[in-house]
Protein backbone atom coordinates (compact mmCIF):
# COMPACT_ATOMS: atom_id res chain seq x y z
CA UNK A 1 0.00 0.00 0.00
CA UNK A 2 1.29 3.44 -0.94
CA UNK A 3 0.21 6.15 1.48
CA UNK A 4 0.45 9.88 0.93
CA UNK A 5 0.14 12.06 4.01
CA UNK A 6 -0.59 15.69 3.20
CA UNK A 7 1.21 17.98 5.61
CA UNK A 8 0.25 21.55 6.37
CA UNK A 9 2.96 23.80 7.75
CA UNK A 10 1.14 25.93 10.34
CA UNK A 11 1.95 28.34 13.15
CA UNK A 12 2.10 26.71 16.56
CA UNK A 13 -1.08 27.34 18.55
CA UNK A 14 0.70 29.55 21.03
CA UNK A 15 1.96 31.88 18.27
CA UNK A 16 0.90 35.49 18.27
CA UNK A 17 -1.30 36.09 15.26
CA UNK A 18 -0.43 39.35 13.52
CA UNK A 19 -0.72 40.65 9.98
CA UNK A 20 1.48 42.79 7.80
CA UNK A 21 1.49 44.61 4.48
CA UNK A 22 -1.75 46.48 5.13
CA UNK A 23 -3.28 43.48 6.92
CA UNK A 24 -3.13 41.47 3.70
CA UNK A 25 -0.57 38.88 4.83
CA UNK A 26 0.14 36.79 7.86
CA UNK A 27 3.14 38.12 9.77
CA UNK A 28 5.58 35.22 9.99
CA UNK A 29 7.98 37.19 12.15
CA UNK A 30 9.00 35.17 15.20
CA UNK A 31 6.43 32.46 14.50
CA UNK A 32 7.23 28.85 15.35
CA UNK A 33 5.90 26.40 12.77
CA UNK A 34 4.67 22.87 13.37
CA UNK A 35 3.03 20.00 11.52
CA UNK A 36 -0.71 20.74 11.55
CA UNK A 37 -2.05 18.69 14.52
CA UNK A 38 -4.78 16.98 12.49
CA UNK A 39 -2.10 15.90 9.98
CA UNK A 40 0.13 14.63 12.78
CA UNK A 41 -2.52 12.12 13.91
CA UNK A 42 -2.74 10.92 10.30
CA UNK A 43 1.03 10.69 9.92
CA UNK A 44 1.36 8.56 13.04
CA UNK A 45 -1.40 6.24 11.80
CA UNK A 46 0.42 6.00 8.44
CA UNK A 47 3.64 5.00 10.23
CA UNK A 48 1.64 2.27 11.97
CA UNK A 49 0.62 0.93 8.53
CA UNK A 50 4.26 1.11 7.47
CA UNK A 51 5.45 -0.89 10.47
CA UNK A 52 2.59 -3.38 10.66
CA UNK A 53 1.52 -3.85 7.04
CA UNK A 54 4.59 -2.87 5.01
CA UNK A 55 3.10 0.32 3.59
CA UNK A 56 5.34 3.05 2.19
CA UNK A 57 4.66 6.54 3.48
CA UNK A 58 5.28 9.70 1.47
CA UNK A 59 4.58 13.14 2.91
CA UNK A 60 3.70 16.09 0.71
CA UNK A 61 3.26 19.80 1.18
CA UNK A 62 2.49 22.76 -1.03
CA UNK A 63 4.72 25.64 -0.03
CA UNK A 64 7.99 27.48 -0.38
CA UNK A 65 11.46 26.34 0.79
CA UNK A 66 10.66 27.64 4.29
CA UNK A 67 8.31 24.69 4.81
CA UNK A 68 11.07 22.08 4.38
CA UNK A 69 11.94 21.83 8.10
CA UNK A 70 8.34 20.68 8.68
CA UNK A 71 8.70 18.01 5.99
CA UNK A 72 12.07 16.95 7.46
CA UNK A 73 10.34 16.57 10.81
CA UNK A 74 7.79 14.25 9.18
CA UNK A 75 10.70 12.27 7.70
CA UNK A 76 12.32 12.11 11.14
CA UNK A 77 9.08 10.72 12.54
CA UNK A 78 9.38 7.91 9.99
CA UNK A 79 8.00 8.83 6.56
CA UNK A 80 10.00 7.24 3.72
CA UNK A 81 10.18 10.23 1.44
CA UNK A 82 8.84 13.75 0.96
CA UNK A 83 7.56 15.87 -1.88
CA UNK A 84 7.30 19.64 -1.85
CA UNK A 85 5.22 21.36 -4.49
CA UNK A 86 7.06 24.61 -4.93
CA UNK A 87 4.25 27.14 -4.81
CA UNK A 88 2.54 29.60 -2.55
CA UNK A 89 -0.69 27.89 -1.39
CA UNK A 90 -3.18 30.55 -2.46
CA UNK A 91 -6.43 28.75 -1.65
CA UNK A 92 -7.83 25.33 -0.77
CA UNK A 93 -8.64 24.40 -4.35
CA UNK A 94 -5.16 25.35 -5.56
CA UNK A 95 -3.61 23.12 -2.89
CA UNK A 96 -6.01 20.24 -3.64
CA UNK A 97 -5.24 20.51 -7.36
CA UNK A 98 -1.48 20.33 -6.72
CA UNK A 99 -1.82 17.36 -4.37
CA UNK A 100 -4.18 15.59 -6.80
CA UNK A 101 -1.43 15.86 -9.43
CA UNK A 102 1.13 14.39 -7.02
CA UNK A 103 -1.30 11.55 -6.27
CA UNK A 104 -1.99 10.80 -9.95
CA UNK A 105 1.73 10.69 -10.73
CA UNK A 106 2.63 8.65 -7.66
CA UNK A 107 -0.24 6.14 -7.74
CA UNK A 108 -1.09 6.39 -4.06
CA UNK A 109 -3.79 4.13 -2.61
CA UNK A 110 -4.53 5.91 0.62
CA UNK A 111 -4.36 9.67 1.02
CA UNK A 112 -4.47 11.04 4.54
CA UNK A 113 -4.97 14.77 5.10
CA UNK A 114 -6.01 16.57 8.25
CA UNK A 115 -9.70 17.45 8.26
CA UNK A 116 -8.74 21.10 8.86
CA UNK A 117 -5.60 23.20 9.17
CA UNK A 118 -5.02 25.43 12.16
CA UNK A 119 -4.23 28.51 10.10
CA UNK A 120 -6.90 29.07 7.46
CA UNK A 121 -9.42 26.60 8.95
CA UNK A 122 -10.73 25.92 5.46
CA UNK A 123 -11.40 22.22 5.99
CA UNK A 124 -11.74 21.67 2.26
CA UNK A 125 -8.53 20.15 0.92
CA UNK A 126 -9.23 16.43 1.56
CA UNK A 127 -12.75 16.60 0.09
CA UNK A 128 -11.54 18.56 -2.92
CA UNK A 129 -8.76 16.03 -3.62
CA UNK A 130 -11.37 13.26 -3.52
CA UNK A 131 -13.70 15.30 -5.74
CA UNK A 132 -11.01 16.05 -8.31
CA UNK A 133 -9.81 12.43 -8.50
CA UNK A 134 -13.20 10.74 -8.04
CA UNK A 135 -11.81 8.71 -5.13
CA UNK A 136 -13.80 7.53 -2.13
CA UNK A 137 -13.77 9.96 0.76
CA UNK A 138 -14.33 9.75 4.50
CA UNK A 139 -14.16 12.97 6.48
CA UNK A 140 -13.71 13.51 10.25
CA UNK A 141 -12.11 10.08 10.28
CA UNK A 142 -11.24 8.75 13.74
CA UNK A 143 -10.24 5.18 12.88
CA UNK A 144 -9.14 3.16 9.85
CA UNK A 145 -8.13 -0.42 9.07
CA UNK A 146 -7.17 -1.76 5.65
CA UNK A 147 -7.13 -5.35 4.36
CA UNK A 148 -6.16 -5.67 0.71
CA UNK A 149 -8.25 -2.92 -0.83
CA UNK A 150 -11.09 -3.22 1.67
CA UNK A 151 -11.33 -0.45 4.24
CA UNK A 152 -13.29 -0.07 7.44
CA UNK A 153 -13.33 3.47 8.78
CA UNK A 154 -14.95 5.29 11.65
CA UNK A 155 -16.30 8.78 11.18
CA UNK A 156 -17.30 11.26 13.84
CA UNK A 157 -20.88 12.47 13.48
CA UNK A 158 -22.79 15.04 15.54
CA UNK A 159 -23.59 13.17 18.74
CA UNK A 160 -21.80 9.92 18.03
CA UNK A 161 -19.88 7.92 15.47
CA UNK A 162 -20.50 5.94 12.35
CA UNK A 163 -18.65 2.93 10.95
CA UNK A 164 -18.37 2.77 7.17
CA UNK A 165 -16.94 0.32 4.65
CA UNK A 166 -15.25 1.42 1.48
CA UNK A 167 -12.36 0.57 -0.83
CA UNK A 168 -9.03 1.99 -1.91
CA UNK A 169 -8.17 4.36 -3.45
CA UNK A 170 -9.45 6.48 -0.62
CA UNK A 171 -8.97 9.98 0.77
CA UNK A 172 -9.57 10.59 4.46
CA UNK A 173 -9.88 13.84 6.41
CA UNK A 174 -8.15 12.79 9.61
CA UNK A 175 -8.28 13.96 13.19
CA UNK A 176 -7.60 12.86 16.76
CA UNK A 177 -8.73 9.27 17.21
CA UNK A 178 -6.75 7.93 14.23
CA UNK A 179 -4.22 7.59 17.04
CA UNK A 180 -4.44 9.03 20.52
CA UNK A 181 -2.42 12.02 21.59
CA UNK A 182 -0.17 9.89 23.80
CA UNK A 183 0.76 7.73 20.80
CA UNK A 184 1.98 10.63 18.65
CA UNK A 185 5.59 10.10 17.61
CA UNK A 186 8.33 12.51 18.55
CA UNK A 187 11.40 12.36 16.31
CA UNK A 188 14.32 10.63 18.03
CA UNK A 189 18.00 11.29 17.30
CA UNK A 190 18.27 8.35 14.91
CA UNK A 191 15.19 9.54 13.05
CA UNK A 192 16.57 13.05 12.78
CA UNK A 193 19.90 11.73 11.44
CA UNK A 194 18.32 9.46 8.81
CA UNK A 195 15.84 12.18 7.80
CA UNK A 196 18.77 14.22 6.51
CA UNK A 197 19.51 11.68 3.81
CA UNK A 198 15.96 10.77 2.85
CA UNK A 199 14.70 11.98 -0.52
CA UNK A 200 12.87 15.30 -0.61
CA UNK A 201 11.70 15.93 -4.15
CA UNK A 202 10.72 19.39 -5.30
CA UNK A 203 8.11 19.55 -8.04
CA UNK A 204 6.79 22.58 -9.85
CA UNK A 205 3.06 23.40 -9.61
CA UNK A 206 0.46 22.72 -12.28
CA UNK A 207 -1.88 25.47 -13.37
CA UNK A 208 -5.01 25.94 -11.33
CA UNK A 209 -7.70 28.60 -11.43
CA UNK A 210 -7.69 31.15 -8.61
CA UNK A 211 -11.27 30.64 -7.42
CA UNK A 212 -10.87 32.54 -4.20
CA UNK A 213 -8.31 34.81 -2.62
CA UNK A 214 -7.72 36.10 0.87
CA UNK A 215 -7.82 39.87 0.48
CA UNK A 216 -7.55 41.01 4.04
CA UNK A 217 -7.25 39.92 7.66
CA UNK A 218 -8.77 41.43 10.76
CA UNK A 219 -8.27 40.82 14.42
CA UNK A 220 -11.36 40.53 16.59
CA UNK A 221 -12.27 43.64 18.59
CA UNK A 222 -10.72 43.69 22.03
CA UNK A 223 -12.94 41.96 24.53
CA UNK A 224 -14.29 43.84 27.48
CA UNK A 225 -13.03 42.66 30.84
CA UNK A 226 -14.71 39.80 32.63
CA UNK A 227 -17.51 40.75 35.03
CA UNK A 228 -16.67 39.17 38.32
CA UNK A 229 -19.52 37.96 40.46
CA UNK A 230 -19.15 37.12 44.11
CA UNK A 231 -19.69 33.44 44.91
CA UNK A 232 -22.08 34.66 47.59
CA UNK A 233 -24.25 36.44 45.05
CA UNK A 234 -25.20 33.75 42.53
CA UNK A 235 -28.58 35.41 41.92
CA UNK A 236 -26.60 38.15 40.18
CA UNK A 237 -25.14 35.63 37.72
CA UNK A 238 -28.59 34.33 36.89
CA UNK A 239 -29.88 37.86 36.53
CA UNK A 240 -27.03 38.77 34.13
CA UNK A 241 -27.41 35.62 32.05
CA UNK A 242 -31.14 36.19 31.79
CA UNK A 243 -31.45 39.96 31.40
CA UNK A 244 -28.12 41.09 30.01
CA UNK A 245 -26.74 38.18 27.98
CA UNK A 246 -30.20 36.74 27.31
CA UNK A 247 -28.92 33.19 27.05
CA UNK A 248 -31.17 31.56 29.63
Amino acid sequence: MKILVCISHVPDTTSKINFTNGDSEFDTNGVQYVINPNDEFGLTRAIWFQEQQGATVTVANVGGPETEPTLRKALAIGANEAIRVNANPTDGFFVAKQLAEVIKNGGYDLIIAGKESLDYNGGMVPGMIAGILGYNFVNSCTGITVEGTAVKAVREIDGGKETVSTTLPLVIGGQKGLVEEKDLRIPNMRGIMTARTKVLTIVEPVEAPANTKAVKFEKPAAKSAVKLISPDNLDELINLLHNEAKVI
Partner: protein, 322 residues
Protein backbone atom coordinates in the same frame (compact mmCIF):
# COMPACT_ATOMS: atom_id res chain seq x y z
CA UNK B 1 -28.02 35.64 -8.62
CA UNK B 2 -30.53 33.12 -7.23
CA UNK B 3 -29.70 31.32 -4.02
CA UNK B 4 -29.93 27.64 -3.18
CA UNK B 5 -29.61 26.23 0.31
CA UNK B 6 -29.38 22.67 1.52
CA UNK B 7 -31.83 22.47 4.44
CA UNK B 8 -30.52 19.62 6.55
CA UNK B 9 -32.88 17.26 8.33
CA UNK B 10 -32.59 14.15 10.47
CA UNK B 11 -35.31 11.53 10.82
CA UNK B 12 -37.76 13.68 8.88
CA UNK B 13 -37.28 16.82 10.98
CA UNK B 14 -35.29 19.90 10.11
CA UNK B 15 -32.21 20.64 12.16
CA UNK B 16 -32.01 24.07 13.74
CA UNK B 17 -29.14 24.96 11.41
CA UNK B 18 -31.55 24.66 8.49
CA UNK B 19 -33.57 27.57 9.88
CA UNK B 20 -30.46 29.61 10.59
CA UNK B 21 -29.25 29.01 7.04
CA UNK B 22 -32.68 29.95 5.62
CA UNK B 23 -32.72 33.16 7.69
CA UNK B 24 -29.27 34.05 6.40
CA UNK B 25 -30.16 33.18 2.81
CA UNK B 26 -33.29 35.35 2.97
CA UNK B 27 -31.29 38.35 4.11
CA UNK B 28 -28.71 37.88 1.35
CA UNK B 29 -31.49 37.33 -1.20
CA UNK B 30 -33.14 40.61 -0.20
CA UNK B 31 -29.92 42.52 -0.77
CA UNK B 32 -29.46 40.85 -4.15
CA UNK B 33 -33.12 41.13 -5.15
CA UNK B 34 -33.54 37.40 -5.62
CA UNK B 35 -35.28 34.37 -4.12
CA UNK B 36 -34.32 31.44 -1.92
CA UNK B 37 -34.75 27.85 -3.01
CA UNK B 38 -34.10 25.01 -0.57
CA UNK B 39 -33.30 21.43 -1.46
CA UNK B 40 -34.33 18.84 1.12
CA UNK B 41 -33.66 15.11 1.37
CA UNK B 42 -36.32 12.88 2.94
CA UNK B 43 -37.39 15.81 5.10
CA UNK B 44 -41.09 14.98 5.55
CA UNK B 45 -43.22 18.10 5.98
CA UNK B 46 -41.28 21.05 4.56
CA UNK B 47 -43.86 23.79 5.20
CA UNK B 48 -41.94 25.04 8.24
CA UNK B 49 -39.35 26.57 5.89
CA UNK B 50 -41.89 29.21 4.86
CA UNK B 51 -41.48 30.82 8.29
CA UNK B 52 -37.88 31.68 7.48
CA UNK B 53 -38.31 33.18 4.04
CA UNK B 54 -37.78 30.21 1.73
CA UNK B 55 -39.66 30.72 -1.53
CA UNK B 56 -39.37 27.31 -3.11
CA UNK B 57 -38.48 23.80 -1.98
CA UNK B 58 -37.13 21.02 -4.14
CA UNK B 59 -38.17 17.92 -2.25
CA UNK B 60 -36.09 14.83 -2.78
CA UNK B 61 -37.60 11.64 -1.40
CA UNK B 62 -35.56 8.56 -2.14
CA UNK B 63 -35.00 5.42 -0.04
CA UNK B 64 -31.46 5.15 -1.36
CA UNK B 65 -30.72 8.35 0.53
CA UNK B 66 -32.11 7.07 3.83
CA UNK B 67 -28.64 7.11 5.42
CA UNK B 68 -26.29 10.04 4.89
CA UNK B 69 -23.84 9.46 2.04
CA UNK B 70 -21.77 12.54 1.34
CA UNK B 71 -21.14 11.88 -2.33
CA UNK B 72 -24.76 11.08 -3.15
CA UNK B 73 -26.03 14.09 -1.22
CA UNK B 74 -23.44 16.31 -2.92
CA UNK B 75 -24.68 14.98 -6.25
CA UNK B 76 -28.26 15.87 -5.31
CA UNK B 77 -27.25 19.42 -4.35
CA UNK B 78 -25.23 19.84 -7.53
CA UNK B 79 -28.18 18.82 -9.69
CA UNK B 80 -30.51 21.12 -7.76
CA UNK B 81 -28.12 24.04 -8.32
CA UNK B 82 -27.97 23.29 -12.03
CA UNK B 83 -31.74 22.90 -12.33
CA UNK B 84 -32.34 26.26 -10.62
CA UNK B 85 -29.35 27.90 -12.27
CA UNK B 86 -28.41 29.10 -8.77
CA UNK B 87 -25.29 31.20 -8.44
CA UNK B 88 -24.93 31.16 -4.68
CA UNK B 89 -25.02 27.89 -2.74
CA UNK B 90 -25.30 28.04 1.03
CA UNK B 91 -24.45 25.15 3.32
CA UNK B 92 -24.30 24.85 7.09
CA UNK B 93 -21.41 23.63 9.21
CA UNK B 94 -22.67 20.39 10.70
CA UNK B 95 -20.30 17.44 10.41
CA UNK B 96 -22.37 16.16 7.47
CA UNK B 97 -22.58 19.47 5.62
CA UNK B 98 -18.85 20.12 6.05
CA UNK B 99 -18.28 16.61 4.68
CA UNK B 100 -20.22 17.22 1.48
CA UNK B 101 -19.45 20.91 0.86
CA UNK B 102 -16.03 20.52 -0.75
CA UNK B 103 -17.45 17.79 -3.03
CA UNK B 104 -20.22 20.19 -4.08
CA UNK B 105 -17.70 22.96 -4.76
CA UNK B 106 -15.50 20.75 -6.95
CA UNK B 107 -18.49 19.34 -8.85
CA UNK B 108 -19.74 22.86 -9.63
CA UNK B 109 -16.25 24.29 -10.24
CA UNK B 110 -17.27 26.86 -7.66
CA UNK B 111 -15.12 28.96 -5.38
CA UNK B 112 -15.77 27.90 -1.80
CA UNK B 113 -15.46 29.85 1.45
CA UNK B 114 -16.07 27.92 4.66
CA UNK B 115 -16.54 29.13 8.24
CA UNK B 116 -18.31 32.26 7.03
CA UNK B 117 -19.54 34.67 9.69
CA UNK B 118 -21.94 37.50 9.01
CA UNK B 119 -23.49 38.79 5.82
CA UNK B 120 -21.26 39.27 2.76
CA UNK B 121 -18.91 42.23 3.19
CA UNK B 122 -19.55 43.13 -0.43
CA UNK B 123 -21.50 41.49 -3.24
CA UNK B 124 -19.52 43.01 -6.12
CA UNK B 125 -16.78 41.90 -5.87
CA UNK B 126 -18.18 39.09 -3.75
CA UNK B 127 -16.41 39.12 -0.40
CA UNK B 128 -17.19 37.36 2.85
CA UNK B 129 -15.73 37.41 6.32
CA UNK B 130 -14.67 34.07 7.74
CA UNK B 131 -13.15 32.71 10.92
CA UNK B 132 -9.48 31.83 10.62
CA UNK B 133 -6.49 31.06 12.82
CA UNK B 134 -8.71 29.11 15.24
CA UNK B 135 -10.92 32.14 15.94
CA UNK B 136 -7.95 34.41 16.58
CA UNK B 137 -8.59 36.39 13.39
CA UNK B 138 -11.03 37.00 10.57
CA UNK B 139 -10.13 36.64 6.96
CA UNK B 140 -11.92 38.48 4.16
CA UNK B 141 -12.13 36.15 1.19
CA UNK B 142 -13.07 37.14 -2.32
CA UNK B 143 -14.78 34.58 -4.54
CA UNK B 144 -14.44 35.21 -8.25
CA UNK B 145 -16.17 32.19 -9.81
CA UNK B 146 -19.62 32.35 -11.44
CA UNK B 147 -21.09 29.88 -8.93
CA UNK B 148 -20.11 30.42 -5.30
CA UNK B 149 -20.38 28.10 -2.32
CA UNK B 150 -20.48 29.38 1.26
CA UNK B 151 -20.35 27.34 4.44
CA UNK B 152 -22.00 29.32 7.25
CA UNK B 153 -20.29 28.93 10.63
CA UNK B 154 -22.58 27.36 13.19
CA UNK B 155 -24.62 29.63 15.43
CA UNK B 156 -23.01 32.70 13.89
CA UNK B 157 -26.07 34.38 12.40
CA UNK B 158 -29.17 33.43 14.36
CA UNK B 159 -32.69 32.45 13.41
CA UNK B 160 -35.06 35.16 12.16
CA UNK B 161 -38.62 34.71 11.02
CA UNK B 162 -39.78 36.16 7.68
CA UNK B 163 -43.01 34.73 6.34
CA UNK B 164 -43.04 33.67 2.69
CA UNK B 165 -45.30 31.83 0.28
CA UNK B 166 -43.70 28.50 -0.30
CA UNK B 167 -43.87 26.56 -3.56
CA UNK B 168 -43.15 22.86 -3.18
CA UNK B 169 -41.85 20.74 -6.00
CA UNK B 170 -40.83 17.08 -6.14
CA UNK B 171 -37.34 16.67 -7.47
CA UNK B 172 -35.84 13.41 -8.72
CA UNK B 173 -32.12 13.79 -9.33
CA UNK B 174 -30.16 10.97 -10.92
CA UNK B 175 -28.22 8.99 -8.36
CA UNK B 176 -25.73 6.44 -9.64
CA UNK B 177 -24.01 3.45 -8.04
CA UNK B 178 -20.75 5.40 -7.99
CA UNK B 179 -22.36 7.71 -5.42
CA UNK B 180 -22.26 4.89 -2.91
CA UNK B 181 -18.55 4.04 -2.71
CA UNK B 182 -18.71 4.59 1.04
CA UNK B 183 -21.36 2.51 2.82
CA UNK B 184 -22.60 3.06 6.34
CA UNK B 185 -22.31 -0.15 8.37
CA UNK B 186 -23.48 1.06 11.77
CA UNK B 187 -24.23 4.23 13.69
CA UNK B 188 -23.62 4.70 17.39
CA UNK B 189 -25.33 7.66 18.99
CA UNK B 190 -25.42 8.48 22.64
CA UNK B 191 -29.13 8.48 23.34
CA UNK B 192 -31.00 10.54 25.88
CA UNK B 193 -28.31 13.19 26.07
CA UNK B 194 -27.96 16.54 24.35
CA UNK B 195 -25.02 16.41 21.93
CA UNK B 196 -22.36 19.12 22.00
CA UNK B 197 -23.13 19.90 18.36
CA UNK B 198 -26.83 20.53 18.97
CA UNK B 199 -26.67 22.16 22.40
CA UNK B 200 -27.54 25.79 23.13
CA UNK B 201 -25.70 25.51 26.42
CA UNK B 202 -22.60 23.47 27.23
CA UNK B 203 -21.40 22.76 30.76
CA UNK B 204 -17.76 21.82 30.74
CA UNK B 205 -15.42 20.80 33.53
CA UNK B 206 -11.72 20.27 33.96
CA UNK B 207 -9.10 18.90 36.27
CA UNK B 208 -10.29 21.23 39.01
CA UNK B 209 -12.99 18.63 39.69
CA UNK B 210 -10.26 16.37 41.11
CA UNK B 211 -11.72 13.06 39.97
CA UNK B 212 -14.36 11.36 37.78
CA UNK B 213 -16.47 10.58 40.85
CA UNK B 214 -17.25 14.29 41.17
CA UNK B 215 -19.00 14.65 37.83
CA UNK B 216 -22.52 14.07 39.11
CA UNK B 217 -22.92 17.74 39.97
CA UNK B 218 -21.77 18.69 36.45
CA UNK B 219 -24.33 16.32 34.96
CA UNK B 220 -27.02 17.67 37.24
CA UNK B 221 -26.23 21.26 36.31
CA UNK B 222 -26.34 20.29 32.62
CA UNK B 223 -29.63 18.52 33.03
CA UNK B 224 -31.22 21.49 34.83
CA UNK B 225 -30.13 23.75 31.95
CA UNK B 226 -30.90 21.26 29.16
CA UNK B 227 -27.20 21.48 28.34
CA UNK B 228 -24.60 19.11 26.93
CA UNK B 229 -21.63 18.09 29.07
CA UNK B 230 -18.06 18.53 27.89
CA UNK B 231 -14.57 18.37 29.35
CA UNK B 232 -11.03 19.63 28.92
CA UNK B 233 -8.29 17.61 27.26
CA UNK B 234 -6.44 16.47 30.42
CA UNK B 235 -9.71 15.08 31.74
CA UNK B 236 -10.30 12.97 28.64
CA UNK B 237 -6.62 11.96 28.51
CA UNK B 238 -6.86 10.76 32.11
CA UNK B 239 -9.91 8.71 31.16
CA UNK B 240 -12.17 10.51 33.61
CA UNK B 241 -14.59 11.30 30.81
CA UNK B 242 -15.17 9.82 27.31
CA UNK B 243 -13.12 11.24 24.41
CA UNK B 244 -16.33 12.39 22.73
CA UNK B 245 -16.66 15.04 25.44
CA UNK B 246 -13.23 16.57 24.82
CA UNK B 247 -13.63 20.08 23.47
CA UNK B 248 -10.79 22.26 22.27
CA UNK B 249 -8.41 22.49 19.39
CA UNK B 250 -7.97 18.77 18.81
CA UNK B 251 -11.35 17.88 20.29
CA UNK B 252 -14.80 19.02 19.29
CA UNK B 253 -15.37 22.67 18.44
CA UNK B 254 -18.06 24.45 20.46
CA UNK B 255 -20.09 27.36 19.07
CA UNK B 256 -22.87 27.54 21.58
CA UNK B 257 -24.86 30.38 23.14
CA UNK B 258 -23.59 29.77 26.64
CA UNK B 259 -20.44 27.93 27.67
CA UNK B 260 -19.89 27.34 31.37
CA UNK B 261 -16.35 26.28 32.26
CA UNK B 262 -15.84 24.81 35.71
CA UNK B 263 -12.37 24.08 37.02
CA UNK B 264 -10.80 24.64 33.61
CA UNK B 265 -7.75 26.90 33.63
CA UNK B 266 -8.17 27.90 29.99
CA UNK B 267 -5.11 26.67 28.07
CA UNK B 268 -4.80 28.36 24.69
CA UNK B 269 -5.71 25.09 22.91
CA UNK B 270 -8.91 24.85 24.91
CA UNK B 271 -9.88 28.46 24.24
CA UNK B 272 -9.22 27.99 20.50
CA UNK B 273 -11.93 25.36 20.38
CA UNK B 274 -14.61 27.16 22.35
CA UNK B 275 -14.14 30.83 21.56
CA UNK B 276 -16.93 30.90 18.97
CA UNK B 277 -19.36 30.50 21.86
CA UNK B 278 -21.30 33.68 22.47
CA UNK B 279 -21.25 33.95 26.26
CA UNK B 280 -18.63 32.33 28.45
CA UNK B 281 -18.86 31.84 32.20
CA UNK B 282 -15.90 30.64 34.20
CA UNK B 283 -15.90 29.23 37.71
CA UNK B 284 -12.41 28.72 39.06
CA UNK B 285 -10.73 28.96 42.44
CA UNK B 286 -7.61 30.50 40.88
CA UNK B 287 -8.18 34.18 40.04
CA UNK B 288 -5.08 34.04 37.80
CA UNK B 289 -6.56 31.30 35.57
CA UNK B 290 -6.21 32.46 31.92
CA UNK B 291 -9.87 31.66 31.31
CA UNK B 292 -10.86 34.84 33.15
CA UNK B 293 -9.26 36.85 30.33
CA UNK B 294 -11.64 35.48 27.70
CA UNK B 295 -14.78 35.00 29.80
CA UNK B 296 -17.76 37.34 30.01
CA UNK B 297 -18.71 36.43 33.56
CA UNK B 298 -16.50 34.93 36.21
CA UNK B 299 -16.78 33.56 39.69
CA UNK B 300 -13.64 33.10 41.73
CA UNK B 301 -14.62 30.27 43.99
CA UNK B 302 -14.43 26.60 44.81
CA UNK B 303 -16.48 24.53 42.36
CA UNK B 304 -17.55 22.17 45.17
CA UNK B 305 -19.08 25.11 47.01
CA UNK B 306 -20.41 27.11 44.06
CA UNK B 307 -21.83 24.47 41.71
CA UNK B 308 -24.32 22.79 44.11
CA UNK B 309 -25.69 26.20 45.11
CA UNK B 310 -25.82 27.27 41.48
CA UNK B 311 -27.87 24.17 40.63
CA UNK B 312 -30.45 25.18 43.24
CA UNK B 313 -30.53 28.75 41.92
CA UNK B 314 -31.04 27.58 38.33
CA UNK B 315 -33.75 25.16 39.46
CA UNK B 316 -35.59 27.99 41.19
CA UNK B 317 -35.15 30.21 38.12
CA UNK B 318 -36.49 27.51 35.80
CA UNK B 319 -39.47 26.86 38.08
CA UNK B 320 -40.25 30.56 38.10
CA UNK B 321 -39.99 30.74 34.29
CA UNK B 322 -42.38 27.89 33.58
Amino acid sequence: MSILIYAESAEGKFKKVAFELASYAKKVAESLGTTVTAVTVNAGDVSELSKYGVDKVLKVNNDKLAGFTAKAYADVIKQAVQKENAKLVLLSSTTDSIYLSSLVAVALEAGFASNVVGLPVSTSPFQVRRNAFSNKAFNITEISTDVKVLGLAKNSYGIFETASTLTEEDFNPTIGDNDFGVKVESVEKVSGKVSIADADIVVSAGRGLKGPENWSMIEELASVLGAATACSKPVSDLGWRPHGEHVGQTGKPVATNLYIAIGISGAIQHIAGISSSKVKVVINSDPEAPFFKVADYGIVGDAFDVVPRLIEKFKAFKAQQS
